[in-house]
């Protein structure tokens, strides 16, 4: 039997050679990306790398390919890994936890559980009906969008491991402390009463059980396509704006008005971030360009957190189960946490 026949005869072998092949292509493309654009733009098209046009255009194409590759790789890997977890399992784990330990576990599970904020309402009801304390549930709901795979992929690729770990640590801290504060405030007063009256009937099925490797890999592929299809316009606009800032904005423009010396920079960054819902993909290229122009990391992390963690559409959805008082408190607590992170990092990293 030839190699191709042997591979074709074994579904397992075929599956894993597909995965390994894709990984090799991915690494090669990632490695070749800077050389490709250097060669094409500067050698073939003879653009000047030191000119505004040259550096702006190079930034745009190089970043588009790099971010596209990072997103594809990390979304795929994260989705496959997360297919071993489920919201149902998370709820079972959190069911017996008290506040304190429960908040820490909930924030951690918020990172690893497959979850979309579009399911925030049924998940909230499901958690509370199963006896998970409100504060613990909130820790989960804060951590889940904040420490998400798109943000991690982009931070890792654009800023490296240090700032990524910083972001994850800060995000988890805001989620843990925020949930604890909401628990202490007895936030259950401000939950719509029907939530507590919801009785769970029937047997809960755990979607993570009974999946084959082929299912998990298929879910990874589908998730990559779904997310990229959703975010590509924001991504291109973000990279385009980033390229303009990169090529044309004067060196000290942003640093002068929004540098570490201006105490208003962090709250303004948070205010700008809130309406930019869920566009971590569009925002990070901007963050990268602004960082190059001398904006401090704390301000930029606060901006990013506000973008991903405080989303207007999610608040509107949550209104279904939370009274306005709790929504306002929730926003206030999370925003305070984000501000603290911004000031702290500006002070520490300066």
């Amino acid at each position: 039997m030839s190699v191709t026949e042997r591979v074709a005869a074994h579904p397992g072998l075929r599956r894993w050679s597909w995965v390994v092949g894709a990984a090799v292509v991915w690494v090669a493309a990632y490695w070749a990306n800077p050389y490709l654009w250097d060669w094409l733009l500067f050698d073939v098209l003879a653009l000047d790398p030191d000119s505004r046009l040259g550096s702006g255009v190079h930034f745009f194409f190089y970043d588009t390919v790099k971010i596209g590759l990072l997103l594809t790789g990390i979304i795929f890997a994260v989705t496959v890994l997360r297919s071993f977890m489920s919201v149902e399992r998370t709820r079972t784990i959190l069911g017996g936890k008290r506040e304190g330990v429960g908040n820490v576990v909930a924030a951690g599970l918020g990172v690893v559980t497959p979850f979309c904020s579009c399911s925030a309402v049924p998940a909230f009801i499901g958690f509370v009906a199963a006896g998970v304390p409100i504060g613990v549930t909130m820790s989960f709901l804060i951590a889940s969008p904040m420490v998400n795979e798109v943000a991690i992929a982009l931070l890792l690729g654009l800023f490296g491991l240090g700032p990524t770990l910083l972001y994850i640590g800060a995000g988890l801290t805001v989620a843990i402390v925020g949930g604890m504060v909401l628990g202490r405030l007895h936030a259950e007063r401000w939950v719509e009463p029907f939530v507590f009256e919801t009785r769970l009937r029937g047997k809960v099925i755990d979607p993570a059980i009974g999946l084959t490797w082929d299912d998990r890999l298929q879910m990874g592929r589908e998730e990559v396509v779904t997310i990229l299809r959703k975010i590509w316009p924001y991504l291109l606009v973000g990279i385009g704006l980033g390229a303009v800032i990169h090529g044309w904005a004067p060196e000290d423009l942003f640093a002068r008005y929004a540098g570490a010396g201006n105490p208003l920079a962090v709250p303004v960054a948070v205010l700008i971030g809130v309406p930019l819902y869920s566009n971590a993909a569009g925002v990070l290229p901007l963050v990268e360009a602004l960082h190059d122009k001398g904006l401090p990391m704390g301000t930029l992390l606060a901006f990013m957190m506000a973008v991903v963690a405080l989303s207007l559409p999610e608040m509107i959805l949550l209104r279904r189960v939370l009274k306005p008082r709790l929504i306002a408190t929730f926003i206030g607590v999370v925003a305070a946490g984000i501000l603290a992170v911004g000031y702290l990092f500006n002070a520490v990293l300066a």
């Binding site: 919201v87 399911s119 009906a129 939530v195 099925i205």
Partner: protein, 80 residues
Amino acid sequence: MNIKILGSGCANCVNLERAAREAAAELGLDAEFEKVTDYGDIAAYGVMRTPGLVVDEQVVLSGRVPTAAQVKELLAPLAG
């Protein structure tokens, strides 16, 4: 057979309903379809990730959009 699609009207629910209708048609099932959009009702089924598929009051699937072939596999043993 009563088939319920759980979800608040997102794209996933539409896709799930399409897959379920296709599967039921291919199996020649006499199924009535219902949409459950109220969050309280959805949560009462224990579904925490939409969309969800409920057959004769039993949750058979939640949290992802299956293909019509996968729904067929789920429906076939319940058709009896």
